[in-house]
């Protein structure tokens, strides 16, 4: 499932995937894979992304049940 919340939060900060990747110490392709839902990051990487974007884990990675159904 695509992580549109992460993509929106990144866009809101006017960051490219490469910028966010550099801030989190990962490759651009890894950020791309997370946004596309192809890769489930570890909790450490989730926290690094949240800190870089100034968001909480719930805001970026928590899926409500009705969201899953959509």
């Amino acid at each position: 499932m695509k992580n549109l919340k992460l993509k929106a939060a990144r866009a809101a900060k006017d960051l490219s995937q490469a910028d966010l990747a550099q801030m989190c110490g990962v490759s651009r392709q890894t950020i791309n894979a997370i946004e596309k839902g192809d890769y489930n990051p570890t909790i450490n990487l989730c926290i690094a992304i949240c800190k870089a974007l100034g968001r909480t884990l719930d805001e970026l990675f928590w899926e409500e049940e009705n969201e899953d159904a959509e």
Binding site: S27, R28, T30, N32, T42
Partner: protein, 170 residues
């Protein structure tokens, strides 16, 4: 210098060159390439596929040996091909899954390392073909195998680069 001593010296020089070139090719001048968690996971799978490839290849070669089939190449080349095959499977899997290049790799410098490696393998091969003709049993077959491997990986890099060029960031 006999052939085995020549092979040993060539291998030692190759290892020293690789270490020096890797230090030059990484942006932080460390020999070790750093990968992120996704890349490490993919590389783990790549090593598994490479290992299975090598096992299957060596099993086939053992079957050939037991059934009395002799291949028209030097025995060292048969085992070297198995190692290279495993390496190519690992590298190919990592290239397609974006886990080949590490976080501290400088791609332009790596391209120079690749070209230098190709040249170092091409020179003895060309010299041997010129002096003795093409000989699979006694010529510099290992150099030829390395060149084929570099060629395959080079084509894969190119195809992957062209595929990613347009839609890199959605």
């Amino acid at each position: 210098m006999d052939k085995s001593a020549g092979f040993g010296v060539g291998l030692a020089v190759g290892i020293i060159l690789v270490v020096l070139l890797l230090k030059f090719a990484n942006t932080d001048h460390k020999k070790k390439t750093e990968y992120d968690e996704r890349q490490k996971e993919i590389r783990g799978r790549g090593y598994m596929y490479g290992f299975y490839t090598m096992i299957i290849y060596e099993t086939i070669m053992i079957c050939f040996g037991m059934s009395g089939v002799t291949l028209p190449v030097a025995p060292i080349a048969i085992h070297f091909t198995g190692i290279v095959l495993g390496g190519v499977v690992l590298a190919s899997y990592c290239i397609w899954k974006d886990a080949y290049w590490g976080l501290n790799n400088n791609l332009k410098r790596y391209a120079i390392v690749f070209l230098a490696t190709a040249a170092l393998n091409a020179i003895p091969l060309i010299a041997s073909v010129k002096s003795e003709g093409f000989n699979l049993e006694d010529g510099p077959i290992l150099n030829l195998i390395c060149l084929v491997m570099l060629g395959v990986l080079g084509v894969e890099f190119l195809v992957k680069y062209l595929m990613d060029k347009d839609g890199a960031e959605e």
